[in-house]
Symmetry: D2
Subunit: 366 residues, 4 copies
Amino acid sequence: MASTFGTNVRVSIFGQSHAPAVGVVVDGLPAGFAPDWDGLRAFMRRRAPGQTLLSTQRTEADLFEVLSGISEGKLCGAPLCMVIKNTDTRGQDYAGLKNTPRPGHADWPAQVKYRGHQDAAGGGHFSGRLTAPLCLAGGLIIQLLAQQGIRVGAHIARIADVEDTPFDPMAPQLDDLQDGYLRVLDARTGERMAAAIDAARLALDSVGGVVECAVTGLPVGVGQPMFDGLENRIAQAIFAIPAVRGIAFGSGFGAAGLRGSQHNDEYALDDAGRVTTRTNRHGGVLGGLSTGMPLLFNAAFKPTASIFKPQRTVDLARGQEAELALKGRHDPCIVPRAVPVVEAVTALAVYDLYLDYVKEQAYGIE
Amino acid sequence: MASTFGTNVRVSIFGQSHAPAVGVVVDGLPAGFAPDWDGLRAFMRRRAPGQTLLSTQRTEADLFEVLSGISEGKLCGAPLCMVIKNTDTRGQDYAGLKNTPRPGHADWPAQVKYRGHQDAAGGGHFSGRLTAPLCLAGGLIIQLLAQQGIRVGAHIARIADVEDTPFDPMAPQLDDLQDGYLRVLDARTGERMAAAIDAARLALDSVGGVVECAVTGLPVGVGQPMFDGLENRIAQAIFAIPAVRGIAFGSGFGAAGLRGSQHNDEYALDDAGRVTTRTNRHGGVLGGLSTGMPLLFNAAFKPTASIFKPQRTVDLARGQEAELALKGRHDPCIVPRAVPVVEAVTALAVYDLYLDYVKEQAYGIE
Amino acid sequence: MASTFGTNVRVSIFGQSHAPAVGVVVDGLPAGFAPDWDGLRAFMRRRAPGQTLLSTQRTEADLFEVLSGISEGKLCGAPLCMVIKNTDTRGQDYAGLKNTPRPGHADWPAQVKYRGHQDAAGGGHFSGRLTAPLCLAGGLIIQLLAQQGIRVGAHIARIADVEDTPFDPMAPQLDDLQDGYLRVLDARTGERMAAAIDAARLALDSVGGVVECAVTGLPVGVGQPMFDGLENRIAQAIFAIPAVRGIAFGSGFGAAGLRGSQHNDEYALDDAGRVTTRTNRHGGVLGGLSTGMPLLFNAAFKPTASIFKPQRTVDLARGQEAELALKGRHDPCIVPRAVPVVEAVTALAVYDLYLDYVKEQAYGIE
Amino acid sequence: MASTFGTNVRVSIFGQSHAPAVGVVVDGLPAGFAPDWDGLRAFMRRRAPGQTLLSTQRTEADLFEVLSGISEGKLCGAPLCMVIKNTDTRGQDYAGLKNTPRPGHADWPAQVKYRGHQDAAGGGHFSGRLTAPLCLAGGLIIQLLAQQGIRVGAHIARIADVEDTPFDPMAPQLDDLQDGYLRVLDARTGERMAAAIDAARLALDSVGGVVECAVTGLPVGVGQPMFDGLENRIAQAIFAIPAVRGIAFGSGFGAAGLRGSQHNDEYALDDAGRVTTRTNRHGGVLGGLSTGMPLLFNAAFKPTASIFKPQRTVDLARGQEAELALKGRHDPCIVPRAVPVVEAVTALAVYDLYLDYVKEQAYGIE
């Protein structure tokens, strides 16, 4: 229900920040595919905190275990379950927080919704920790998509007021993405972003940003009209990432200020005689369906809610206002870690619709 | 599947622009509710073209017929089906367009997806006409929400470069919305918007805009974590509206440029001793759950794709480029008509999650 | 939710016995298929009452109208909506029955569930009338299956104590089915069944029976493990038919009394070198998946609940017991009319799983 | 998709017989409930093989581990994941069986469906081992139902030709069920059943049987019309149990031979003035909804497919027929172990619909 996504491929996420484990069950993957486990581990390392001083000092093993779904090194057609044990938790950092909800977190509405029974430690099921199993499932599906010639890649478009070069909408430079903690196109921008994050950290504060994601190689006609188009499903998946505040495809909010003649993408034939568009403001999607042009969108992330500056809250037990000073280990900016998560959930949505496409293309009508 | 939405209340949309009818089946509404049919007709008139010169000259009756689901004037618990006959169609305006896809429309990907069998007239199932049954379902559900003390209201935040006063995030001025074709807070803004639309029309062009929507009266704790939160479901529903390019909650993309201390909403107790937030940048949703503060978001609309300026496209039959000059009747700006549609689909998403809330609150654990 | 079925192809049924119409929306059918409307009308006639004195004297037009989903005579990929106007209703036959629930019908539990707001006339949404839209959807899908070489056929296995020849499990005699009101393999059995029904009618009573259904031509491997196997989905669909009490595949309940050596079907190679089984007690399904052998099951129907003999019930308004003597027009046996309905809903379930098979077979893994 | 069930409460089953583990994720359980873990372990022991000589000699620990979903001993509202490590497997017993499909098992259709990549050991995902996680989820939900006054209980109605006393349809004797390996009402029947099983085992053969299940305490009006009634959902769940061949509610197939006057249950008022029926042939369900009378059904189980008698099959590699002689450890009758599984999956279906009832009853319409 809530923590489940997909129709052809069903993904069920479980776990809380301080539960024995977090994990995912993926049902519907094609039998015979041989996962690249090293590749998946490398993908997971892109999200793991502890990479640099910039991120959280909490060390998570992020080593995952496959409990089911594999036979002789390949997907066997049965549901795939992968779990990650939670090994490095400091529970006492969160003591007493059920009573004094942290601003910007789900503490208060969860307290009401679950009548106080929610697992509050580390944010419970709302914790960024749950992006780990999202990345397990999505990372594997990125491999499946790649086998079909479809690539998913994202970079940090912006942190605070520092902007990276945007993707070329006609040919996103997926091969030029700078590896390293800050995944950008322009290395110098990466340095300025690091500085902005560091400044926030020193100020006991946090910053937000924007992640831009591209999907290339999608054939024409993937997606469904109305409620199950590429935008609908990608948006539903993207908002599963904590801290996301908005999503915009192609020209996004900028389209609102353009004239039709400035925004429409005229059709043309490329050198091979295939239909293409001269520009790509539509970001590869029209009417929910892929057009064959690169799919592009931006996702906005609010600044990390956990800051070390004192904040005002309420003491629910005493019915009076109180002050809150967080301890523990918190990311001054979660955007760098969110980049692989954006890729992962985008892959979930795209692949699920791609399987519809496979079915539709194969169906024989005389 | 594609044209279906919801879990507690399932909405199935059917119809094409030039089919005999468009309509909707709504399954799961509570028995005993007496719909206000006059109210629903009034709601439908807010979207119907032909209101002013500003909009499409195509006259649609928009008179709907109830085929099932009612007994003695009340919802009887069985699926509700409402249909609208398509009476005013000028088919020949669209002749030959299967061959020459219109820029900015779904023509090309649909041609591939459906192997040329799609109903292309008027955009077929991708037409803005399908917002009529969306409004039938959503308009009724707005009444159901109102009965529970929950209000949904939207206004035009922006057309071209003209901006309306935004909603007060602490108390959206739903009662101040100016009735009339352009639903705004500030009447003078409405005039400037009308001028911008008119200018585009005279230029044989089109403009886009932004719609801002507020939901007030939501109790705390509505929504589910991860994939079924309020943002996920509202986003999935909003992208069902043609021409939507982006959605952003609360501070939206602006949050990306703020520090945590500037963006977090601190908790406090109001005069009645209830938990509230001092500010509302989060737009009423945290972790996918309602916080009790007004829910707010902006949806960006691209400029209408159908413009009268000549455009370049391809002739699929001849395999060469061609020019396209549209005839017929087209909206220079669909944003004014989209306002009730935004309210309608928002109501679908909110109500579906509200029913989960009813269930959770009523469940008894000793 | 309740009146919706399917994943690849979603079927939404709406209508009450005395509503303006009953109908169905089918979303997910393949574009390009040209329905045989005459064939569908012929299929509908198989279920329509008024064929002989044996059945209800209520005349239903059963003429259906297509509101959407068709373009140039073919399925266009958009949802297909078909409606049947309810023209011949005699409301007064049901006056006062909300107060005095009829034994064997859903009246009493519906009265509680819908708090008295249910449409009670003619059984409302629980009426056998709803098998008409089931047959519209299923009848069309039977044509789609036939195009893929898959046939669905059923006959009356039993009425009262009269039994027809069962299907040959190795080669069901679908071509030998006697046309006419009682669809049987052995015409003499048909006469004895007619006599049994007539005897019941004269006694102001009713009889039940069993329908046997076969599906031939299914490739091997259609269906999913656990909850979405052929038996699970066919059973879920079959129980949507009013009056069904049980379903049993292959040897069914008889298997319970056999030894493994008597029940197992040993494998062999046929003349063409293909895998087959020497016997077919398993009825074509193992582990939820098709084996390539004919799929066979029996569905048990209770005797029609509406009988003219006086029955005891309660007067809900007065809180005391009362007597009930039904008037109106009622089938002394609904089994003959149920045969096409069994075929129809079986087709829904089989086709939905067949589309998974198409997807799985087409998916390319190097 | 396939191995997922439910709407309000979603159950995802994973695992293969010889995978590292089997398990289940349950999403949607109410926060605040304190599971009785000892009670759940006791429930699991009812299904565990190794209890007596009558059952499989394979010892399974069946000790489960909770990976998520619990906080301070109570359900915390987040998805609950329980896993069971597979510790006692003898892989070599199944060597070579991908090539020579076992009669009566899913081997052959799975080989085709998964193109040979399925995990064949021990039947893989089709193994009876998967009834363990079904029982974990169902066993917990039985406790939740009990808290609401709803009881689920089953007994062996029949093994081979030995029949137990059936449940009294007006008052199923749930408290009289004989504990021990063969759960029956009449202890002497249990002895005769044991003898029948033993005889089959000595003959290197197997026997089947029937399980009868009762659900008491259901309020009136639980369930939905058409596709989501109690019969539809219970049937969908019951067929997830390996070896089930049929299901029949109330009088079941016997109803087919009755007259309406013999089968209808007349209404009456009990001593407390509540509506009841004088008889209960309908087995507690009418039109998919609960009537307040005990819900009753029978499920037929085929004889265990794995027998030690030699059987004929095909050698897929050589394209010729072959003989098969199974080794290993197999149950001569799985019916005794299936009894708690029947209770478990019935609980899943009933509880899911019960939550709809809670929502519907709580919804306020003025």
